[in-house]
Structures are given as C-alpha cells and as structure tokens.
C-alpha cells in the first residue's frame, strides 16, 4: 500500500510519485533552486527574481504551516458550500433565517403539501 522507494534516488522506480525519471523533478528543483550553499559568483542572477520560479514553482504562502493547511484544504473544497458562504457572508444563522423564509414561501405556494 505504501509507496516506499528506498534508495529511490538511484533507481528508476521512484515510488508512486508518478515521475518516469530517476528523481521526481519537484524533488530535484526544490533542492537545487531553493537550497544549497549560496556563494556570490561572477554572474549575478537572483533566483528569487525568476518569474517562472516564483509563480509556477513556489507556493506563495506565509509559512510552511499555512502551506500544510492549504494542502489539506481540499476537504473544504465543496463548491456548493464555499459558494454559498461567500454570497451570504459566514453567518449560519442568517442562512437559516433565509431558508426558513423560503420554506415558508414554498409551503404557501404548494397547498397540496399541507394535505399530507
């Protein structure tokens, strides 16, 4: 069940990461771009200024903890719920009041329901 790939860096099977290469490109880039010793060479290129890197490769987040929460946020990605809370503000009582009113209106318009 697990996707353990011990010594995966040297073997072509890199777990379930879905990469065909020896190492997942994300594993490589997050190391060679973001880490390693920074020594001022004769060619000055600030990797932080690179648009591709800042926009496509990095998550613009305040902290790793925030990033982790963002990673988990798919639990909250119910579009119906998210859409409603944006339209109506975040007060569930206001929503309940609206629903109660709508239910009342519905009952008025469909008297046959009252017969049940």
């Amino acid at each position: 069940v697990s996707s353990l790939s011990p010594r995966g860096d040297y073997s072509p099977s890199s777990g379930s990461s879905g990469s065909g290469g020896a190492s997942n490109l994300a594993d490589v880039l997050e190391r060679v771009l973001d880490k390693g010793v920074v020594i001022a060479g004769d060619i000055q290129v600030n990797l932080l200024d690179i648009e591709l890197l800042t926009i496509k490769l990095r998550l613009v987040v305040a902290s790793v903890d925030t990033a982790r929460r963002m990673g988990i946020s798919w639990w909250e990605n119910d579009p119906m719920l998210a859409g409603e809370s944006r339209e109506n503000g975040d007060d569930p009582r206001a929503l309940s009041r609206r629903v109660a009113e709508l239910e009342r209106q519905l009952e008025e318009r469909t008297p046959e329901r009252e017969e049940r």
């Binding site: 790939s5 995966g8 040297y10 020594i39 060619i43």
Partner: protein, 259 residues
C-alpha cells in the same frame, strides 16, 4: 577571439581531494576539479553565450532548459555524495574562469570546510505524506433533501454534519502528521519542513499534506527506512500514503544550524 568558444566556470559543489566523480557535467562535458588547500570544487566549463547574465535570466524561465540544467547539476552532486561528503552549491553558481573559483575557495575556505565537517557521514531523505482523494465522504451518499417536508432544514443539518466530519478528519490528519514527524526525527540528526510540491512538477496524486527532509547518519539509515515503512503501514488505513525518497546530498542542511 571567438565568442562561440568562450566559457564560464560552473561550480556544482565542494568536496574533498580524491572525491571527483566520473559523471559528466552540463552538456556531457567532463568535470574539472579545482583544488585549494584540501578542498575541491567540482566544476565544468559552460558556454558563455548560454550562461551570461543577460541570457541566463531568459533560460531560467524555460522549464525544459531548467530541467536539463537542474538534472545535470543534481546528477553530479548525487554521484559525489555516494562517494563522500559534498557541499552542494545553488543552481547556476558561475565564475569567469577557473582562477576565480580558486580565489573563492581561498576566501570561503573556513566556512566550506566547517560545513563539510558537519555533514560527515550524513545523507538527506525526503518524506512526503499524501492524502488520497478517496478518503473524502462519497457524494453518492447525498440524500435527496426535497424528499422531506423541510428540505432547507435537512440540507443545513447535513452540511453541519459534513463540516463537523471535516473538522474531525483534519484534526486527525494533523495529529497523524505530527506523530509521524516526531517518530522520524528520533532517527535523524536534523529535519526541516518544506513546502508542498507543485503537482505539475511532481505528478503526485491526492493532496500533499506534508513534505519534509531529514538529515540521517548513514549508520542509522536502515533504522530510518524501517521506521518509515512501519509508519507507512500505520498511515495507510487513514487514506494517507507515505512517500520516501533519497538518499540526497544534504541540500537542506548546508546552512549553519541555529545557535
């Protein structure tokens, strides 16, 4: 003077005398070892036309160029670390010529030697935890709210239950991640948390709920891997997959530890 043959010197990393891998560098060009006082810079010449400041910026925006260069850099470092300690440089550390590299080795000698010393016998392992999308509540279970007398009320009661279930699930994932990290750290000398990776680069499935790197002494590598296997088995029933990658050169541990 032909600009077509003009080169710059690309530095991959610093190691000790005697640890020069046979792996070629960027564009398949053989490595050149530049030595100064016991330290060796692993370098290769690269075309100035491609790596000069004004060109480099454009190339770095080109994912295909970036991947080719990053993989060549990574390959040199991976081969060197399999043979001994290496301090990896950040991508595209470039000097005008070999003499300038020797000057750098002299200037940075104390810091580089100290870092090499600190990393002796260690390698880096990456551990990611992925949450399976199938762990979500199945949408097929959604009841038909309009079948009840009070459809709005039923709808919100159901949404409340789902929100509560999400809170509980998120809390239990947070706890499982904290426990996993604490257990792995018992076998590691140091650890760092990394950002979740971009799916377009990693190709991972599900959601990456944690991404971390551990500095592990080689004598403890077997215990670390065994522990990771045990943790993977423990996480699997919760729909969480543990992905272990490595060993890497200690890219994430080249900085001075906080005092």
């Amino acid at each position: 003077v032909s600009t077509a043959t003009a080169t710059l010197t690309y530095v991959y990393g610093i190691t000790r005398s005697g640890n020069v891998p046979a792996t070629p560098g960027i564009d398949g060009v053989p490595l050149v070892a530049i030595e100064h006082d016991g330290l060796v810079a692993l370098t290769s010449p690269v075309p100035q036309a491609e790596f000069a400041e004004d060109r480099l910026k454009d190339h770095l925006e080109d994912l295909a160029w970036l991947e080719k260069t990053a993989r060549a850099h990574h390959e040199v470092i991976a081969t060197a670390v399999a043979q001994g300690e290496v301090v990896p440089m950040r991508l595209c550390t470039l000097f005008a010529d070999d003499g300038r590299v020797a000057e750098m080795l002299a200037r940075e000698h104390a810091r580089l030697a100290e870092t090499l010393e600190r990393l002796i016998g260690c390698e880096e392992w990456g551990v990611k935890v992925l949450a399976e999308p199938t762990a979500q509540p199945a949408p097929a279970d959604t009841p038909d709210d309009t079948a009840t007398d009070r459809p709005g009320h039923a709808f919100f009661a159901r949404k409340r239950q789902q929100a509560e279930a999400r809170r509980k699930t998120t809390a239990s994932i947070e706890q499982a991640l904290a426990d996993t990290d604490a257990t792995l750290r018992r076998h590691a000398r140091a650890s760092v948390r990394l950002r979740p990776q971009q799916r377009s680069l990693s190709g991972h499935r599900g959601e990456m709920v944690s991404n971390a790197a551990y500095l592990v002494e080689r004598s403890r590598t077997d215990a670390f891997i065994r522990t990771a296997h045990e943790l993977a088995e423990a996480l699997a029933p919760s729909g969480l997959t543990l992905d272990l990658t490595g060993p890497f050169a200690p890219y994430n541990f080249t900085a001075e530890p906080d005092a």
